[in-house]
Amino acid sequence: MDRNPDQVIRRQDVARPLAAPGPKLRPVAPAGTVECGGCGRRFGEQRFEKHLRVCPHCGRHAAVPATTRAGQLADPGSLGVVRMDVGDRDPLGFNDGVPYPSRIAQARERTHLQETFVIARAAIAAVPVVLACMDFGFLGGSLGSGAGEQFARGCELAVAEGRGLVAVCTSGGARMQEGIVSLAQMARCSAGVVAVSRAGLPHISVLADPCFGGVTASFAVQADVILAEPRARIGFAGGRVIEQATYDRLPDGFQTAEFLLAHGMVDAVVERGVLRDTVASLLTAFRGSR
């Protein structure tokens, strides 16, 4: 498969060297610097953030915390994070060595987030939207009932205020610690999407690395337009699970954004540097036609 199909929307039309794995056992990057997970080069934190957490050398798109992501997409000054208390949840009384509520507490302390989603009002190219950004740092962006409630409320907010929905999805899938309750969240989030769709509001989904399981198999791909970040790994079952279950040899580039583009599953692979403009064009087009 062509690794750089022409359809990829990129800032400059130059071939980039493929990411080489960084040498192992390097000393930790000194404070104030960030090491690229792809090529291993180090950059000043400020420079890295200015590059939207994309490696200036190899182009690897590093993970973006949800709050940062919302800031990257919103028109300057338009962002208003919606404070949402979704409570404490432990439907199964789950304990796998560490009680589930302790895991939640740790994730909250680490990320300063309530749950996986950051829900915000914003404008993109002056089109009012609700941003629903997932944070992979919050228990792997997993979908539990708290996250499901956040997303559903986000959809309701979009409908109530006539805003479009822009969801940035990155997740390992359902949150195993909530068992069947987490499975039900796929239906809950889908119900939210149905409401947005029925209201005739635009819904744009951005898939970031990685996006799997029950998140991909629900709201992440129920949008009017699905965009994916370069090299993002996206699928239902993970590659390791597939290899173990079927002994299938995985094709080159399997489950990457580019692979899905070639298979007709996403509308475009979009570099982060032009993501905001791409989303803006789509929102403007959909609004203009109404």
Binding site: D96, M176, I180, A184, Q185, S190, I242, H263, M265
Partner: protein, 272 residues
């Protein structure tokens, strides 16, 4: 009893329940279709790529009511299990189900789903053809379907692969069935990075359908004769048939807009 013995005992019991649900003698979708329905005509193919035998369906008479019955079939012997891929659908299976649901809607036929899958198929071909997309679209279709929908978990309801056919006005389950976010083997691989710890995962996950019933994802548990449906499958199917008819009788008196609204509200509230 020491703590560790107690834990081991709990894990053994939990996994025994999963094994009971996997008993090959339990009624399968095709058995339910042949014993509880008449005049079934099978509709095959998704009109896009192929025909997935893990999902079977078509119009049939349930008593004197025409319905669209759609079921996940695991197979009953070595050959039929291979043919039906152990009840693990590919995207084509879900797209066929959507096609049948749309046909049902056109002719105002209630939809009856029979869920019996360890999980949606995990494989290269399934991913290439958009397994996640197929499941996500089926969820959307079921949420908006303008006919009554009754789903029953027969034995194993695993992952989004099961939920895709279980977004319904009424969800029933045979009492010894399991309904889980993923098979215990997969959960163990995810949580403990070791599929061998499936019993530990089973104990933690509470896979029995009573859990789904407690949280309101399942509305009614259909009692099974002792020691389980595998011993008396025909008796079990008769009990299930009675319950499906009863729920359809109720649902068919409800105005369609109300039905769709209630279904959306139900799943909006799912999981508290």
């Amino acid at each position: 009893m020491s703590v560790s013995t107690e834990t081991a005992e709990r894990e053994r019991t939990a996994f025994a329940a999963v094994e009971l649900a996997r008993n090959p003698g339990r009624p399968r979708a095709l058995q339910v279709i042949s014993e509880a329905f008449t005049e079934w005509t099978e509709m095959r193919g998704d009109r896009l790529f192929g025909d997935d035998r893990a999902v079977v369906g078509g119009p049939a008479l349930l008593g004197n009511r025409w319905v669209m019955v759609i079921g996940q079939e695991k197979g009953t012997d070595a050959i039929s299990r291979a043919v039906h891929n152990f009840g693990m659908p590919h995207p084509e299976g879900y797209r066929k189900a959507q096609r049948l649901m749309r046909t049902a809607e056109k002719f105002a036929m209630p939809v009856v789903c029979l869920v019996d899958t360890p999980a949606a198929h995990a494989g290269v071909a399934a991913e290439e053809r958009g397994q996640a997309w197929a499941i996500a679209e089926t969820l959307m279709t079921m949420l908006q379907l303008r006919v009554p929908v009754v789903s029953t978990v027969l034995s194993e309801g695993g992952s989004g692969g099961a939920l895709a056919l279980a977004v319904a006005d009424r969800v029933l389950a045979l009492e010894n069935a399991v309904y889980t976010v993923a098979p215990p083997e997969t959960c163990a691989a995810i949580l403990y990075r070791d599929a061998g710890q499936r019993a530990r995962a089973a104990a933690a996950l509470r896979p029995g359908v009573d859990t789904a019933y407690e949280i309101g994802l399942v509305d009614e548990l259909i009692p099974e004769p002792t020691p389980g449906a595998h011993a008396h499958p025909t008796v079990t199917v008769a009990a299930l048939r009675g319950a499906i008819v009863r729920h359809l009788d109720e649902l068919c008196t409800v105005d369609v807009d109300t039905l769709v609204q209630r279904r959306a509200a139900r799943y909006r509230a799912a999981g508290g």
